[in-house]
């Protein structure tokens, strides 16, 4: 990360020779770390709660900023490509919720496990996917992270189990991954995410029960963005205290627009799991700027004023930026350079995603099974002799 910053600074210097002395001086002047007051979490069946005074280093801040900005710009580019009909089918965008994905990842390790529902592009990135692979999957090309076979809702990386299209099904799956962690005794845990809409699914309560019974290292996280498609939480849920819904499972309600809040709560939850105390629940109060999906303008069930208010008062990227600038942890130019670099990365990825060829027809029948010799696959009629090459 620091190499990137110094490269960026060096480029500034090359463009404006007289700035050499000035930027070297500015670099040394940056605060290397600062402590921040964050909102106290509401707790359920817990005696302690996450710390309200937390430390963030300059290096961390720059990394979080870059990642959140990458997610933001990637989703906006996806919006563009969808409107150009280069992306088709389902496309559920994550802009507004960046602090959740980035904050959670900051609280766990890449060796831990994570599973989410269909609003998954941000997590695919934080879990190790590249923007190129994600965008090419959205455009259905062979360079996509799932070779074009999955699409928006079915992206996978190591220790990231998608990307799941059936609302709520991912939660028992995540509890199962946690069971595997426990049986394998590897001190890893599994984060299972779901939305406010999914929170009423029966199978989630079945997963809560078994996770608590067997003390599974599972962190259940409800990303409450206030709307399940077009249905507000008040219209779908008899109880909107999602962090309490685990009943016998302790819970935290967290400001999901503040990445440091999310990070701190996730660390707290991870410690809880790793101490063998069993599952824990987190509700992240967050917001999506886009509608449910690209076919939803997102303004028939909520007001433009509401969206605008969140953007101006609670945007996660702005919040981080303000924190860093007001604590002299970065300069305006430095952050602008990151923006430029991110924009370039997204442009390159979009270019790749629109020019990479679609998968070859031979791929139609591949990957039906794992580790399987080639087999005949029935085509549209008996004369279409298709074959899989596993």
């Amino acid at each position: 990360m620091l190499t990137n910053i110094s490269t960026v600074l060096r480029t500034c210097v090359q463009r404006n020779g007289t700035a050499a002395v000035a930027s070297a001086r500015t670099y040394a002047d940056f605060t290397q770390q600062a402590s921040f007051e964050i909102k106290k979490c509401d707790v359920h069946k817990l005696d302690e709660s996450p710390a309200t005074e937390v430390v963030m280093t300059r290096e961390e801040g720059l990394k979080y900023y870059r990642t959140m900005q990458t997610i933001r710009r990637m989703e906006l580019k996806a919006d563009q490509l969808y409107k150009q009909k280069i992306i088709r089918g389902f496309c559920h965008l994550y802009d507004g919720q960046e602090a959740c994905a980035v904050g959670i990842e900051a609280g766990i390790n890449l060796s831990d496990h994570l599973i989410t529902a269909y609003r998954a592009h941000g997590y695919t990135l934080t879990r190790g996917g590249t923007v190129r692979q994600i965008m090419a999957e959205l455009t259905g090309r062979r360079g996509g992270i799932a070779k074009g076979k999955g699409g928006s809702m079915h992206m996978y990386t190591k220790n990231f189990y998608g990307g799941n299209g059936i609302v709520g099904a991912q939660v028992p799956l995540g509890a199962g991954v946690a069971l595997a962690c426990k049986i394998q005794g590897n001190n890893e845990l599994c984060v299972s995410l779901y939305g406010d809409g999914a929170a009423n699914q029966g199978q989630i309560f079945e997963a809560y029960n078994m996770a608590a019974l067997w003390k599974l290292p599972a962190i259940f996280i409800c990303e409450n963005n206030k709307y399940g498609m077009g249905t507000s939480v008040e219209r779908s849920s008899a109880s909107t205290d999602y962090y309490k819904r685990g009943d016998y499972i302790p819970g935290l309600r967290v400001d999901g627009m503040d990445l440091l809040c999310v990070r701190e709560a996730t660390k707290f939850a991870a410690d809880h799991c790793r101490a063998g105390k069993g599952p824990i629940l987190m509700e992240l109060q967050t917001y999506r700027y886009h509608g449910h999906s690209m076919s939803d303008p997102g303004v028939s069930y909520r007001t433009r004023d509401e969206i605008q208010e969140v953007r101006s008062k609670s945007d996660p990227i702005s919040m981080l930026k303000d924190r860093m600038l007001s604590n002299n942890m970065a300069s305006v130019d430095e952050l602008k350079e990151i923006d430029v670099s991110v924009r370039k990365e997204i442009e390159d990825a979009a270019q790749f995603a629109t020019t990479d060829p679609e998968p070859p027809l031979e791929e139609l029948c591949s990957h039906i099974f794992h580790n399987e010799p080639p087999m005949d696959v029935r085509g549209v009629n008996i004369w279409a002799k298709l074959k899989s090459s596993s």
Partner: protein, 359 residues
């Protein structure tokens, strides 16, 4: 033939031979093993062979299994490998699938496949389709097993056959053992397979003993999927069937042999993939086809077989239209007389054969 006598005892509880669990290590020439014990031994051996294998389901541990298929396993392997679940199929099936995604090799037991309907989304959308959607990145090595189809007097909600439902879906392998050898070999193969396998047992076959060869008792004995077995050679008509109805077909064949009609009985073993080649070779020899199953007729296993035979080389060898013997197209009634008449009986199979042969 010893196997013929045990076949005639099908459907009624025969005296099961009690076997010691160490049995599989010292294999005499041939021995009688019930389907239940074959399944039990197969699971025991696979649990021992690979520590990633584990069994979960309702009553599998301390109760020794609702149908005693997992008898003794919890005592031997403990809580970490044999897990009792609450009565929450959708939840525990999802958990089993997630565990498979994360590197374990679960055997997920449904007390009967009727209850799998509660969890069918996890079987199809989470298990069957994932390897394909992920372009091979994420495999799901899991076995879903349990009794399928009609039992005796358990009523409509507990008697459905799911062979056609699961057999419909790409990404799944679906097998339906008949004999103890089938049960042992197919279950071992299923557990060792890196893909989701639906393993359809039959409650009424659990107690039936079969002779098992020395070869089949070997600890690495597996039966490949997609290969049917000709249980009885014949020349006049091909009977294609699976599970318990293999017994019925063999019984029908024994009766007809006395009248000079020789039936060839093909035990499918595998619903998906279906061994069309064996069926075609047989039809090309006998020129007549009758399929026999317990499931409902519409969109069933027999319907698929008939369609495939129509589409292939065997069609030109048929001397009469292929015909199906199936369960009656009603929800299963309770009263014995009604239940008996809603499933194929030996006389129904004989009747269809004679009609097809025009005798």
């Amino acid at each position: 033939m010893a196997s013929l006598s045990c076949v005639l005892r099908s459907g009624r509880n025969a005296a099961a031979v009690v076997l010691r669990r160490e049995f599989h290590r010292s294999a005499p020439a041939s021995v009688q093993v019930t389907v239940r014990d074959a399944l039990n031994q197969a699971m025991d051996e696979e649990l021992e062979r690979d520590e990633r294998v584990f069994l979960l389901g309702e009553e599998v541990a301390q109760y020794d299994g609702a149908y005693k298929i997992s008898r003794g396993l919890w005592k031997k392997y403990g809580d970490a490998r044999i897990i009792d679940t609450p009565i929450t199929e959708m939840g525990f099936t999802g958990i089993a699938v997630g565990a498979a995604m994360a590197g374990l090799r679960p055997i997920c037991e449904f007390m009967t496949f009727n209850f799998s309907m509660q969890a069918i989304d996890q079987v199809i959308n989470s298990a069957a389709k994932t390897n394909y959607m992920s372009a091979g990145r994420q495999s799901v090595p899991i076995v879903f097993r349990g009794p399928n189809g009609a039992s005796a007097g358990v009523g409509a909600q507990h008697s459905q056959c799911f062979a056609a439902w699961y057999g419909h879906c790409p990404g799944l392998k679906v097998v339906s053992p008949w004999s103890a050898e089938d049960a042992r070999g197919l279950l071992k193969a299923a557990i060792r397979d890196d893909n989701p396998v639906v393993f359809l047992e039959n409650e009424l076959m659990y107690g039936v003993p079969f002779e098992m060869s020395e070869e089949s008792l070997h600890k690495d004995f597996t039966i490949p999927f997609g290969k049917a077995k000709v249980e009885r050679q014949g020349t006049h008509v091909t009977l294609v069937t699976h599970s318990r109805y293999v017994s019925f077909c063999l019984d029908a064949a024994a009766v007809l042999a006395k009248e000079g009609v020789e039936c060839e009985v093909v035990n499918l073993r595998s619903i998906r993939p279906l061994d069309v080649e064996t069926i075609e070779a047989s039809v090309m020899k006998t020129n007549h086809l009758v399929t026999v199953e317990g499931g409902w007729p519409q969109f069933g296993v027999g319907a698929e077989i008939c369609a495939r035979v129509m589409e292939g080389p065997a069609f030109n060898y048929l001397d009469a239209p292929a015909t199906r013997v199936t369960g009656v197209d009603v929800p299963m009634p309770y009263a014995k007389i009604l239940e008996d008449n809603s499933l194929p009986q030996i006389k129904d199979i004989i009747f269809s054969i004679k009609k097809t042969l025009n005798i």
